[in-house]
Amino acid sequence: MSAIIVDRRETPRGKSGPNRQRLLQRERSAVKEAIEKSLRDNGIKDVTSSASKKIKIRSGSGTKEPVFRHGSGGINERVYPGNKEFRKGDKIPRPQSSDGGGKKGSPDGEGEDDFIFEMSQQEYLNYVFEGLELPDLVKKALSGSDTFVLRRAGFSQDGPPSQLDVLRSMQQSHGRRISLRSSLLKKEKQLLKEKKEIEEKMQAGSASAVDQARLVEIDKELVGIARKKAAVPLFDDMDLRFRRKEKEPVPITKAVMFCLMDVSGSMGDREKDLAKRFFILLGLFLERCYERTEIVFIRHTSEAQEVDEDTFFFSRETGGTVVSTALEKMLEIIKERYAPEEWNIYGCQASDGENYDADSIKCTALLRESLLPITQYFAYIEILEEREMEVIQHDHGGELWTEYLDIVSGHKNFAMRRVAEISHIYPVFRSLFESTGKK
């Protein structure tokens, strides 16, 4: 009797995959909680790195496996190895409350450990963005009502001359000509045969006067047939075939995000940092929704500039604050490079709410008349000082805030929020883009 050896290494791996998915499903709420916590505590860096994410979750009620077991207390006698100096009757002080140490280890009281789920970037983001959906996103991205491509779609009997398909038209004409001429040809053939017979009789000298007359008649008829044959046109309207094209809507799969930020002296590092996190989250979200996403950074003091990301976040400027310049700049760039028919345009503005006196009204007008009609979504966040948090409860904020409040009611694609600390970012982001279905 000899052993059989089987190599199982090639059998499909990941047998436990489905069970892992079930476990994740089971711990869904705990996982979500853990992810939101990690977003709050660690910031956005976690999100942007493509490394797999380790999520530590407190094993929730979902995956408990309770059994009937003894609790603490009662009388327990256990045997231990490695005695050194104990004698019968010795009393050993009970380890107080800490309960630690292996001494009192019950056989199955292994203690429910926290789980660490390792999930891919993709899985992680699915949780982060779960339930979030940009308003109008589906509508515009899928119907893309403004842009079309023409696709070949068979043939039709009319169309512009440039689309004439010569080969197909010739085939039609050929067929028509054959069918129209076939009876004439048949007749002609018959007449020619008769004519030949009469001519043969004449040569033999046996032709009668009737035959003579018939011959004249035949010639006449043959001329008529030839004329009719010639009258069948090479092309008739009904022969013409044109290549047909249909218009197909093209989904717009491109998005551009404008990050607008006040970099005047009043915006410190903390404010910029908050703004950055917000921008990154939006950027990540767009990245997932569109095939291609571009980001334009516009900073402004009393005048606006398009800059690269580093400059945007790190260089310091001094000067006053004229917010409208940034909006004008955005409009200008859209006109130059991002035709609204081709691009989904998102705007995202961060500021501490200060603005040059009369300018806020100008901003409102710019948004209302020029920007909002062509953008998918425009979000404004006002960054407050930490101590200003109470202010959030009240409605009067910075000048810009007060002005912008007017817009909110009339435009579904405009939203505004206030944040004062890192932990506000994510909830704000969530509520801004809360799935439209919920509302």
Binding site: R20, E65, V67
Partner: protein, 518 residues
Amino acid sequence: MAMEKQVEPLFTKAEWDFEKIKEVCDACEEIAVKELGLDYFPIQIEIVTSEQMIDAYASTGLPIYYAHWSLGKRFMETAKPYQKGKVHLAYELVINSNPCLVYCMEQNSMTMQAIVIAHAGFGHNAFFKNNHLFRQWTSPDSIIDYMVFARKLLAEYEEKYGVAEVEKVIDACHTLRNHGVDRYSHPPELSVEKEKERRGDRAEQRLREITELYSILPRNIKEDEKGKKDRFPKDPQENILYFIEKFAPELPIWKREVIRIVRKISQYFYPQMQTKVLNEGFATFVHYYTMNRLHEERLITDGSMQEFLLSHTNVVFQPGFDDPRFHGINPYALGFNMFMDIKRICEAPTEEDKEWFPDIAGSDWKKTVLDVVKNYRDESGIRQFLSPALMRDMRLFSMLDDEKDSENFLVTGIHNDDDYHKVRKALADQFDVGLQIPLIEVVNVNRHGDRTLTLHHSVVNNKQLDTNETIEVLDLIESLWEFPVQLVSVHPDGRESMTYGSKKVRDQGVSSDNSNWG
């Protein structure tokens, strides 16, 4: 100068290949059969990756299992410390089936493969085939087929009733795994054919019987009040899963089938819970004997022997109670020591041994060892064969933790003449599954009223149940039973100390004087 016969070692390098594994297996078999006289199932060696090994672990040592989140949890629990490099995967996994499946990991060295083959392929294998518990409780011929059947059936149910529904039933069954076994009667052999037959024709019939059971109207309420006459079941039932499967008033048939599957599988594992020490001890004993013999025969090199000894020493390492590495008694160590000790008592008994073990002192060690394998479980084996010499070696002592003394533990016995019996009994009790798992029995169903299911917990040594967990379990039982479930802790003197209720009981706020709904 005698020329020694030159023997080529079976292998000299760490890399293994199929040919070498086969040769080693044959060499081990030679020793197992001719020297140890083992009887075992045919062996099937399965070469697996470490991931597959963790997979197999997660399904608690069955190669096939139905889909359930708890296996995902187990996988993560096993994989985590392994991937962190904290622990080595236990290098062997063996399945009590016929043929006996032995898993060898691909990254094991050839020496390790040899140990695994000797340990699992011959040690565990022979234990499975010969130990009376396994013979009575498991059906190695059909377990794999049964698991295939179970997985297919549960997948069908999931299709039909939804994953969540099926999961709910399985969850509830899992909490009662330890209470799904008849400890004193032997289950019939597993057979897929019979299972299918049973499900077909008789299912409806069974359901009718249950309906009848509950439709009998109380003929005379006064008679009912007279006492326990109308108790159902007549005698307490400790197999709670079985009871629910058979007598739950309104459970659809498919749920009864799910209960049955979980019940059958926990039954399969029941002997393993009770023979951890003897089973691991014997397997370790076999690999130790075999590797030593291979070395004596020069079939393995000195280097390989070194590797083996290092690994073996780790396996049977028993840290003392005050060592930070202490996690309770290591069953490999205790079991291995016991078998070595039995061999010693047979071969070279001391006066003390002759006094303590007149039956085995000086007997044929091979026969004696196989007798232990056949007829004992941990509890009875320790009670019978733990010798004073071994207690001294391991410096065992017993300690009492009584809640009444909130200050101190009390040392109740150490390794000396006065206390050997005391310490041995304490250790045997410690490995008595019957004492470690609370005894809970179905004592009554209120058939003519709200169908409340009443369970009794027999309190031993004043040990109460963990309150929160007990209530969670009751809620899960209720999800199966579909009517209120209550549990009463009863002391040996008949005193009832605690009452727990499932959700429906708590909602009703059903009151009895000593109620404490946790």
